[in-house]
Amino acid sequence: MSRLSEIPIRIEPPPALGGLGGGVTAILSELISLLERLTNSQESAAIDLRSLPMNVDDLAELRRALGEGEVRATLDAEGISAIRETKVPGVWWVEHRDRHGELMAELIEVTRMPQILMTASEEIATGARLLREQIALRSVARRPLTV
């Protein structure tokens, strides 16, 4: 049995994984059709980046192609999520991380605003109630102490 150090090694560049360079172009084309759908029928859509066989380089290239826009939102719920609008209006890059900082999901959403940012209707009523309680507490606090 030869020793580990005696086994010859030749480093070869990894093979191009069959036409995946064209993957970025394919995604961009799909984004165009999704944006058109958003314009015509107000329908939002999303692409799960985990479902595509992209390597690190393809992902970086996609990020460069889409760029960074004006809006950057941080969601702090069960971990930090980063929601950014790209340079392409209507195209949002969403990264969800858990409490340990592990990437849970990565999506590209084609929408006016990602739904997760919107406040739910049922919660608005709760908000009003919270404020009423706050006002009640304040008025109690301001009442002069009757001796």
């Binding site: 086994i7 090694i9 479902s51 969601l75 739904q115 739910a120």
Partner: protein, 373 residues
């Protein structure tokens, strides 16, 4: 262990644990992504689940090594904690629960009574029937009895692991305990097989989550495995596929080809005939899977994988004898004896033929000499 709380919705449980609506949407989005469902399903799932009641779940372990439960407790999306505290009510698991003995068993029977017809039964381990079922008993009851009893009130049965799905290692030749998979014991309930030795954690939790969310059994293949996870072979999604297509195979472990990450077909990889999600979902939260770590696929999510020959013999090789791969010596013995037998028959038939020819020549000579006279 939370007691069965049939009236509490998942949404209410979340609120009690301080998990916000948005946090829950994140959780469902991640789960949908892990299950390779479209992202829009994440939000829909969050909506549905929020109003769903937490089902009672009973986890029964029979002839198993506990590897499947160990796998389940390592799930990243959803985590087991998330699952147990928010989505399901795990009313019985003899490994995880704090109670033991009579207290544990009475918790089980109470949960079965209270939720009759509605609880989800998870089973891991095969069920031995030999010696009247004596090879696996707990609390004085054999596994067969317990399973049959528990199956009566189950809404569905999820078989976690190859042992409960297909018999697994106890079922392998010579199967001394008379082990059988759950499908051989229970015939009248919907069964979902989540096979694998062990199954990928996210596949187990994803299947449970899908069932709880939709209330329906997902689309299954002919072995009753969810198609969303078991619809493709490892080979179909393997990142080393270009090497297979180019004919670049590693010949031995740690040779140059292996170090270059070439295809492991010749080292016995069963990827082409194994259906599982290892190549896409991977293990340890997407870290790696056996082939990426340099070892061929064992085919552990397929029925009878222990009896399909050596893990290190290529799928195109000859396979006979109980041990699996044939040895050149066996082949030589077989061919030599067949050749000998053939030669004997050949010589014998040549002999018979010659005898006949000789006789007919003799007859012809006789007739000639008679004709002359």
């Amino acid at each position: 262990m939370p007691h069965s709380d049939a009236e509490v919705t998942v949404g209410e449980m979340l609120r009690r644990h301080g998990i916000s609506r948005r946090g829950f949407i994140k959780f469902c989005t991640a789960a949908a992504s892990a299950m390779a469902l479209p992202p829009a399903m994440g939000v829909a799932m969050a909506d549905q689940l929020a109003h769903a009641l937490r089902p009672s779940v009973l986890y029964l372990s029979f002839q198993e090594c506990t590897g499947c439960l160990e796998s389940l407790t390592r799930s990243f999306a959803p985590t087991i904690e998330n699952l147990i505290f928010n989505v399901i009510s795990l009313d019985y698991d003899d490994t995880l629960m704090a109670a033991a003995g009579e207290a544990a068993e009475s918790a089980r029977t109470k949960a079965m009574q209270d939720n009759f017809g509605k609880y989800v039964l998870i089973v891991d381990g095969s069920v031995p029937t030999g010696a009247g079922g004596a090879y696996c008993t707990a609390g004085g009851h054999s596994a067969v009895e317990t399973l049959r009893e528990a199956a009566k009130g189950a809404a569905a049965i999820v078989c976690v692991g190859t042992c409960s799905a297909f018999g697994g290692i106890p079922f392998a030749d010579p199967n001394p305990t008379g082990a059988w998979p759950v499908t051989a014991i229970v015939g009248d309930k919907p069964i979902i097989n989540v096979s694998g030795c062990p199954p990928i954690p996210e596949v187990i939790t994803g299947t449970l989550l899908q069932f709880v969310t939709t209330g329906k059994v997902p689309e299954l293949d002919e072995h009753l495995r969810p198609k969303v996870f078991f619809g493709n072979t490892i080979h179909d999604r393997c990142y080393r596929r270009p090497f297979y297509d180019e004919g670049k195979f590693a010949k031995s472990f740690d040779d140059e080809g292996a170090r270059n990450g070439w295809c492991l077909y010749e080292l016995g990889c069963k990827g082409p005939t194994t259906y599982n999600a290892c190549a896409t979902v991977k293990w340890n939260g997407g870290t790696s899977f056996p082939i990426e770590s340099g070892h061929g696929c064992l085919g552990c999510s397929e029925p009878g994988f222990w009896d399909k020959g050596s893990f290190y013999a290529a799928q195109s090789t000859a396979l006979w004898g109980k041990a699996g791969e044939s040895s050149p010596r066996e082949v030589l013995e077989l061919t030599a004896s067949a050749v000998a037998a053939g030669a004997v028959i050949g010589v014998a038939s040549a002999g018979v033929s010659r005898l006949r020819q000789h006789r007919s020549e003799q007859n012809a000579d006789e007739r000639e000499s008679n004709g002359d006279n």
